[in-house]
Symmetry: C2
Subunit: 206 residues, 2 copies
DNA sequence: GTATGATTCAATCAGTTGATTGAATTTCAA
DNA sequence: TTGAAATTCAATCAACTGATTGAATCATAC
């Protein structure tokens, strides 16, 4: 019944859920194929190794987010009256809006994006390379709007900016279990909180 | 040759290095015992299951840090002229000073502390419970020094504060590979950066 | 020195891991 | 309808997984 792309897509759908929840090492191919109702060999046939399957998930799931962040950034710095706030919005809005748009599946994307950033090798290098271009361009934008900082500070500011959204993506479920307020999960509100915290953090002392 | 406590301690020494580098699921007991030069059964004898071994590492390695953070916090809020900056120092200083004091082994502690916070189940619950008491007391301190915020904001401020140090602990090695300046890794300087960013982030808008 | 308890050991368990094979099946164009 | 390519399948591989056993070794108090 399922055509080529059906099985392939279906495996990706299931795989991303498992990788998101259990991490790379904690996910077995058996668990995926059992859940997907396909044969083990299907993974080898369509993707190759476990690592290549993970890479495929990253490519379909995470790469578009990074691409949009970069597009938004480039548009933002060209604007009249461009500022640091716009740069931060360019970083935070794409993933949060996409997650919201995807509905239930956004929860999976959220977990996957967050977890991927904190995986041990061999995933770490894979993800880190992915963000290399992103990192350079955002740091250049920081240089533009936050002149005269030390080089190390620019580096750390990018990591801080990144870590705040990783924190949000991986923790919003446990946090909401402790304290629920549906408004807090509106992407506009979340983006606003992250941008505000980060903007103030990078700004001058009060 | 090795007495009881020797073997037990030695296993812990090796285990924490593996868990720090490869995560819980990515670490096999074989890898640990091979590295430690002991028998597989030694782990079962001294600790029990793999999960109990991880718990023992957490207890010896991470628990003292949390305890000191809480002690520092309690001392800080009692002070004359207590303020938010003191609260943040109480949170950031203990782990960073300990890591510095431990020298080479501090790198392992650093990685372990950072990674533990981002592990999937069953580790996540273990660690999260550990931080529950810590979380409540710090959030109460936020309430004191940052009055009239919404409840959700206090919750997220704690998570942000936590995520910044997790970011630092897990990323300082790759970041230093990209840009090295030894001064940046002095605990006073690091604490200063984290406290400043966080303090500004939590403060009023400029 | 000997008995007792603590510790270590090799051997082994059953189950899982990622990966591969070659045969069976399906798909679809000619 | 037929034939070649794409896809799926059951069966199997060797290696590894966490865990357990009972015998051997050790330390120590008597």
């Amino acid at each position: 019944m399922p055509s080529k792309s059906d099985t392939k897509t279906h495996i990706l759908d299931i795989a991303e859920r498992h990788f998101a929840r259990d991490g790379f090492a904690g996910t077995s191919l058996r668990a995926i194929i059992k859940d997907a109702g396909v044969n083990v060999a299907a993974i080898a046939y369509h993707f190759g190794t476990k690592e290549e399957l993970y890479q495929a998930v990253t490519e379909r799931f995470a790469a578009p987010v990074v691409r949009e962040q970069l597009e938004r950034l480039r548009a933002e710095v060209k604007k009249d009256g461009a500022n640091l706030e716009g740069v931060l919005c360019a970083f935070y809005e794409p993933p949060l809006k996409l997650i919201k748009k995807m509905g239930k599946k956004g929860e999976v994307l959220s977990m996957f994006l967050g977890r991927a950033q904190t995986e041990p090798e061999p995933v770490f290098s894979l993800i880190d390379d992915h963000y290399q271009a992103c990192r350079n361009e955002f740091i250049n934008a920081f240089r533009k709007f936050l002149p005269d900082l030390e080089e190390g500070e620019y580096q750390w500011y990018f990591e801080f900016m990144l870590s705040l959204i990783v924190c949000f993506l991986t923790r919003h479920i446990p946090v909401r279990l402790r304290y629920t307020n549906d408004r807090d999960w509106e992407p506009e509100h979340v983006t606003g909180s992250l941008v505000e915290f980060c903007l103030k953090g990078m700004g001058k002392k009060n």
